[in-house]
Every structure is written in structure tokens, then in C-alpha cells.
């Protein structure tokens, strides 16, 4: 009674006795060892295997089912010994014979690679692999790793790392490379024989003596298997989660697209973008392009995950190509849309209009900001634009968008009259278009007696697109006359030059008179004429200044200034000190 092995030879199934199998395997490996892949090794072996299969079929006939050792011997005798098989090929045989004689000395221990040794292992064969590589006994390496295990677990980490990185020596060739032995027929034969012996002893219940600590190996193998299973489960679990997230994302993208195209009601895109910035075709095309650019990678990742989860191996070329092409199309469309949009900002137009104002009875013109009510505008946080989301599709009269890109400054007038100039700029595909874009925005200015109300924002009515419109207002004040800056105008004024270099937000609430030097505040009562003595008299004196909110302390080493408020702001006749988020300003005013 003999054990049999089922083998596939040349595409046919044979039951072969174990002993005969070992013999055949050795034989084929030996032939294989004579050729290199450039000789067409795989094809030769395949041809030989086909022929072997044929011979087996002939010999078995119908009378029996199992290939036995004599069949293999017959095959070997018919085919010839490995060296005979290779012998025909003259170049080949010469190469081999030279390398097998010279190789054993010159190659010697030259060519070797790092593998894990599966035949001599405690855990994963890492140590024995390294020992083959550097040529010392594995016991020392094992000892080092064991000691390193107790040094913050570095040994364990390093071992796991090596276990993952270093490949296992599987084939005979790899095992020879690992040991640094020349790969020739004798060595291959020897190794295979050793292996077969090893397998035999294992099968017959006797443990491989080379394994040494095989119980430990078994234990670690079991643990390793559990860890690998756990990791696989974990990876699979993460894969499922990612897949769920991706499906949700795809769904969201799909819904968004439907929303854009109006299939489902809703305002997923800011109305500003759809109504006041882009053309409708740009929105549609852009959405489509974005869906491709974002959606395709999602689909691909999903597909990959599904494939690895369900262990599908064959890759669909059609899928790869079509997703690739669709993604590139999406990319190109996106770029095209971007270029198209930017082209609508290519040209600039500037309109300069003098707005007629009634000269005030008194010499002071009051500047105030207009109530927001006139336009139902609302500032949307700090962003440049605001939109009324409730109004989409309900009342088109309310479809307007406002921008606060409005700046008012004050200059000296040439003549004796107040003068107001409005400069509107806009961009467009060409000059004409830009001009149109600048004319069609709405910016109201109202005058009631001596009060001029400025809107904080301009309005883009429905049908007009935002093309970076800007409004700059210049109020020209004749010498000797004044303006009063109302509190709310703070949002509108920008960088008004004045004699005292007062900042815009400090200018409001005061009357400023145009003098020969420029704008000057005549009624600015500085809160308290705080005079601070900065003279540091040296030595150990400490000069302290205390005011309700501000403490200044000067001593030998440094100057401490503390304030309860966020800012420190003194302004008196001689000195201005201002410390806030913008920095520190210490300014000694010129004595006039």
C-alpha cells in the first residue's frame, strides 16, 4: 500500500505514488536547473511535461490508475538524464560545465541574498536567514533579539518588521541564494534531496531535527496564524467601512447633481454662484465635470475594495480604460470651464461719474451710512457677498446680491464746493461687456439737506453677473469746510488721509475740517490729556504710570505696558501710542 499524490502534468491529472512523485519532481527540477529563463526554460519544461504526460497516459492505459516508480524511471530513461537533456545545447552545456567547475570556487560565497529560512526557524526564520547572510550561528542572533525584546520591545518591533519585509526562501534557487551557494545542478539536487528527506521525516511523524525547537515554532506559528487572521479581519472590516463611506459619498454626489440640474428642488449650490456668477451652461457642464473628477476615483476605490473583499482577481481592462478616459474628460472639462470663467474677467472698464450734490447751508457735510432696509441686504459674516437663500425661485424681485466692495475717501477740493465722484470698475469678456457690467450694478446715494447717506454695499440685480465690480467714492472738501463722519460710515470709509494720522475707525464721530495742511479734527477732545513721563532716571527707580485701565511700568530692565482692554490707545498733543492687533505705533507728533 502506498500513498498517492494528485498532480497536474501538462494539463492532465495523474495519481502518482509519493515515491515516484519525489523522483519525478527531482528530475524536472534538475532539468530546470540547467536552463535559464532566457533559454526559454518555462517552455522547455512545459514541452517536456506534456511529453511526460503523454508517456504516462500510454503506459497506464486502462488497466490501472496510478503512476508508479517504474513509469517515472521509464520516462527518465526515454527522455535522458538532465545533463543529456541539456547536453544538446552546446553553448548551454559549456556554460554550465564551466560554471559548475569554476563556480564552486570563484562564486563561492559571493552571491547571496537575504531570505528567511523556513527550514530552520523558531518563529519566522528571520534569525537563521540573517545568519546565513552574514555567516554566524543563528543562536547568537536569536539571543540578541531575545535581549532586545526587553529593551522597550525594540527587538519585537524589528523582528516583526523583518518578518514582513524579508521574503521567505521558497524555491530551491532562493534557498541556494540564501546560503550563498552557487546555483548549479549538484547543489539543486542536493537541496531537493534534503527537502524531500525533511518532508518524509515530518510525514512519518518524526519532527525535523533541523527545526530544533519545533514546539516553540508550533506555538509561534499558531499565534502568528491568529495574528494574521485578526489583521485580515481588521483590514476587511476597515474595507467595509470605507466602502460604506464611499457609497454614501457617491450617493451625496448623485443627489447634489440632481439638485443642480433641478430634478430635486433645493439650493445645494449658493445662489450667488448659479445666478450671479456663472452662466447656466457653465453650472451644468461644471457639475458634470466635477462629478467625473470626484466620482470616478470614488468608484474606482469602491471597485478595488469590492474586488479585494470578494477576492476577484481578474482585472477588467474595459473598466480601467473607461474610468481613466472619463476622468481625463472630466479634468479637461474642468480646465476648460475654468479658462472660460477667467476669460470673462479679462478686460477692465472704469467709469468716472461726478454725482451732483446740493451744497449744505452750513459749512459741514454729514456723511452717514444708509439703512440696510432699502435693499434687504444683509452682510453675510465677513465674506464679500451675501445672498438670500429663501428667495430662490419664489420671488425673482428678491433675487439680488450685494457686495460691500465700496470705499469712500475724502480729498481736498480744488474749488469752493463739495464734490462727489463715483468711480466704478468692472471686468468683462471685452471692454463693452465690462462697461455694461459696471453700469448695471445699483449703488444708491441719498442726500437729505446736509446729510449724505451712502449704501454700504452695491447691488447686482437679477440677470447681471458679478464681474469683480468695485465702487470708489471720493468726496472733495474745499478748504475751510468740514465733514462729519457718522458712526455707521466706518464700514464705508477707507484710508482717509488726515493731519493727525488718525485711523479710520477713530475718525468717526468727529468733525473734520479741511485746512491748508489737510484734514484736521477740531473737536477731537482727547479723552484725558494723559501725560506720561517716560524719562527713566536710571538706577533702581521704577517709574510707574497708572491710569484706570492702563499700567505702564518702567524699570532698569524693561518697560511693561498692560491694559485691560484689547488695545492701548493714547493720543495727546505730543505723543500717540497705539497698540492693538495691527502692531505697535509710537508716534511723536511734530511741534508746529
Amino acid at each position: 500500500m502506498n500513498k498517492t499524490v494528485t498532480v497536474n502534468i501538462g494539463g492532465m491529472v495523474f495519481h502518482i505514488e509519493e515515491q515516484a512523485y519525489d523522483q519525478l519532481k527531482k528530475y524536472l527540477e534538475a532539468i530546470r536547473g540547467y536552463f535559464t529563463s532566457s533559454d526559454g526554460r518555462d517552455e522547455i519544461i512545459q514541452d517536456i511535461e506534456s511529453r511526460v504526460a503523454e508517456m504516462f497516459t500510454e503506459r497506464i492505459g486502462t488497466s490501472r490508475q496510478v503512476v508508479i516508480a517504474t513509469d517515472v524511471e521509464h520516462v527518465i530513461n526515454t527522455m535522458g538524464r538532465p545533463e543529456q537533456v541539456a547536453g544538446t545545447d552546446e553553448e548551454n552545456s559549456e556554460n554550465k560545465s564551466s560554471s559548475s567547475t569554476a563556480g564552486s570556487t570563484s562564486e563561492g560565497r559571493g552571491y547571496r541574498r537575504l531570505y528567511r529560512d523556513p527550514d530552520d526557524k523558531v518563529i519566522g526564520g528571520v534569525c537563521s536567514g540573517i545568519s546565513h547572510y552574514i555567516g554566524i550561528d543563528p543562536i547568537w542572533l536569536r539571543l540578541i533579539f531575545a535581549i532586545a525584546f526587553f529593551v522597550m520591545g525594540t527587538g519585537l518591533l524589528l523582528y516583526i518588521l523583518l518578518l514582513v519585509i524579508v521574503p521567505k526562501a521558497k524555491s530551491t534557487t532562493e534557498k541556494l541564494e540564501m546560503k550563498g551557494q552557487p546555483i548549479n545542478i549538484d547543489n539543486i539536487k542536493k537541496t531537493i534531496e534534503e527537502e524531500v528527506e525533511d518532508i518524509k521525516t515530518r510525514i512519518s511523524g518524526k519532527r525535523s531535527s533541523r527545526g530544533g525547537s519545533s514546539r516553540i515554532a508550533n506555538f509561534f506559528e499558531a499565534i502568528g496564524a491568529i495574528i494574521v487572521a485578526a489583521i485580515k479581519f481588521f483590514v476587511g472590516f476597515i474595507g467595509v467601512i470605507i466602502a460604506i463611506v464611499l457609497i454614501a459619498l457617491l450617493f451625496a454626489l448623485f443627489v447634489t447633481l440632481l439638485g443642480m440640474s433641478g430634478v430635486i428642488g433645493g439650493d445645494s449650490l449658493p445662489i450667488f454662484l448659479t445666478q450671479f456668477f456663472l452662466e447656466s451652461w457653465q453650472v451644468n457642464t461644471g457639475m458634470f465635470a466635477l462629478a467625473l473628477v470626484v466620482g470616478i476615483p470614488l468608484i474606482v476605490i469602491l471597485y478595488r475594495i469590492a474586488r479585494s473583499l470578494f477576492k476577484l482577481k481578474n482585472e477588467s481592462k474595459l473598466f480601467n480604460y473607461s474610468t481613466g478616459i472619463l476622468w481625463i474628460v472630466g479634468m479637461l472639462l474642468t480646465i476648460w470651464i475654468a479658462i472660460n470663467i477667467s476669460s470673462q474677467f479679462r478686460n477692465t472698464n472704469t467709469d468716472r461719474i461726478v454725482i451732483p450734490i446740493v451744497q449744505p447751508q452750513s459749512n459741514t457735510l454729514h456723511l452717514a451710512a444708509m439703512d440696510e432696509t432699502f435693499s434687504r441686504m444683509e452682510d453675510y459674516d465677513d465674506s464679500n457677498f451675501s445672498w438670500d437663500t429663501d428667495s430662490w425661485g419664489i420671488n425673482s424681485d428678491e433675487d439680488s446680491v450685494s457686495f460691500d466692495d465700496v470705499e469712500l475717501t475724502v480729498q481736498r477740493a480744488e474749488g469752493n464746493e463739495f464734490e462727489l465722484v463715483r468711480i466704478t470698475t468692472s471686468r468683462g469678456t471685452n471692454r463693452k461687456n465690462a462697461e455694461l457690467n459696471s453700469r448695471r450694478i445699483v449703488y444708491p446715494i441719498q442726500q437729505n439737506d446736509s446729510i449724505i447717506h451712502f449704501a454700504k454695499s452695491y447691488i447686482i440685480p437679477k440677470g447681471v453677473k458679478y464681474r469683480a465690480q468695485k465702487i470708489r467714492l471720493i468726496l472733495k472738501v474745499p478748504e475751510g469746510k468740514s465733514v462729519f463722519l457718522g458712526q455707521e460710515i466706518e464700514d464705508v470709509i477707507y484710508d482717509i488721509k488726515n493731519v493727525t494720522n488718525t485711523w479710520d475707525n477713530d475718525m468717526v464721530g468727529h468733525t473734520w475740517t479741511m485746512t491748508s495742511r489737510g484734514l484736521e479734527c477740531l473737536n477731537c477732545k482727547l479723552d484725558e490729556p494723559t501725560s506720561i513721563n517716560y524719562n527713566y532716571s536710571g538706577d533702581n527707580d521704577e517709574n510707574d504710570f497708572n491710569d484706570e485701565k492702563v499700567k505702564v511700568r518702567v524699570n532698569g530692565k524693561n518697560i511693561d505696558i498692560n491694559s485691560e482692554d484689547d488695545t492701548i490707545n493714547w493720543d495727546n498733543k505730543d505723543v500717540k501710542i497705539k497698540i492693538d492687533g495691527d502692531g505697535v505705533v509710537i508716534d511723536a507728533k511734530e511741534k508746529k
Binding site: G10, G11, M12, I31, F35, D39, G40, E43, I44, D47, I48, S50, R51, A53, E54, T57, E58, N77, T78, M79, G80, R81, P82, Q84, V85, A86, G87, T88, D89, E90, N92
Partner: protein, 113 residues
């Protein structure tokens, strides 16, 4: 391997390629057919030698093969000469003829006239 065997093997080896190409040149054949003919002619002792040779000739572009189903066993490769192979064979034939003449001439007992 004795010197005699070695020399004999080398002589056979030299004509092996030419013989195989000639056999294939007579029509589409399957390796077993080639082996049978070669064995009859005592040019080849073991079958195994043929396969590496066929693969090499095929890789040199001299041979082409097609797969054909066989009634017993796996599909078989049937070999034919490519045009290059035919050219190659006919040139070898000339060389062979020259060689035969040369060998006959040098090994005959006729004294040099």
C-alpha cells in the same frame, strides 16, 4: 565519457540541427515523429534533447508551431519551417554537401595525385 564517445557526440551534435530542420521541412510534424525518425537513424539517444533544441530554433525564428488536439493526452505542438527556416535549411544542405565532399576527399585512400 571517453574521448571516443566525446568526439562521436560532438560529430552528431553538429548535424543534429540540420537533420531536425530537414525532417520538419518535409511537412508538419509533432516532436514524437521527429524523435522516432532520429532514433531510427541513431542520431538521437534520448528524447529530452529535442525539446531545448526545438525551443531554441523556434526562438531564432526558424520554426513555427500550431496547437492540435490529440486523441490521447494533452494538445500537441506541430512544427513547421518558417520562410527563414527554409532558407536556413537549404543553406545548411549546401554546407552539408560541401562537407561530405570534403570529408570523402580527405579520408579516401586515393593517393593525392
Amino acid at each position: 565519457m571517453s574521448n571516443l564517445e566525446n568526439t562521436q557526440a560532438q560529430m552528431r551534435r553538429g548535424v543534429l540541427e540540420f537533420c531536425i530542420l530537414s525532417i520538419i521541412g518535409q511537412g508538419e510534424v509533432y516532436p514524437s515523429d521527429i524523435i522516432a525518425k532520429m532514433k531510427d537513424a541513431k542520431l538521437m539517444v534520448v528524447e529530452g534533447t529535442l525539446y531545448p533544441l526545438l525551443t531554441r530554433l523556434k526562438n531564432q525564428g526558424l520554426l513555427a508551431y500550431t496547437w492540435k488536439e490529440s486523441s490521447s493526452g494533452p494538445p500537441r505542438k506541430y512544427y513547421t519551417l518558417t520562410p527563414i527556416g527554409e532558407q536556413f535549411t537549404s543553406e545548411l544542405r549546401i554546407t552539408w554537401q560541401e562537407l561530405v565532399d570534403a570529408v570523402n576527399q580527405t579520408t579516401s585512400n586515393n593517393p593525392i595525385s
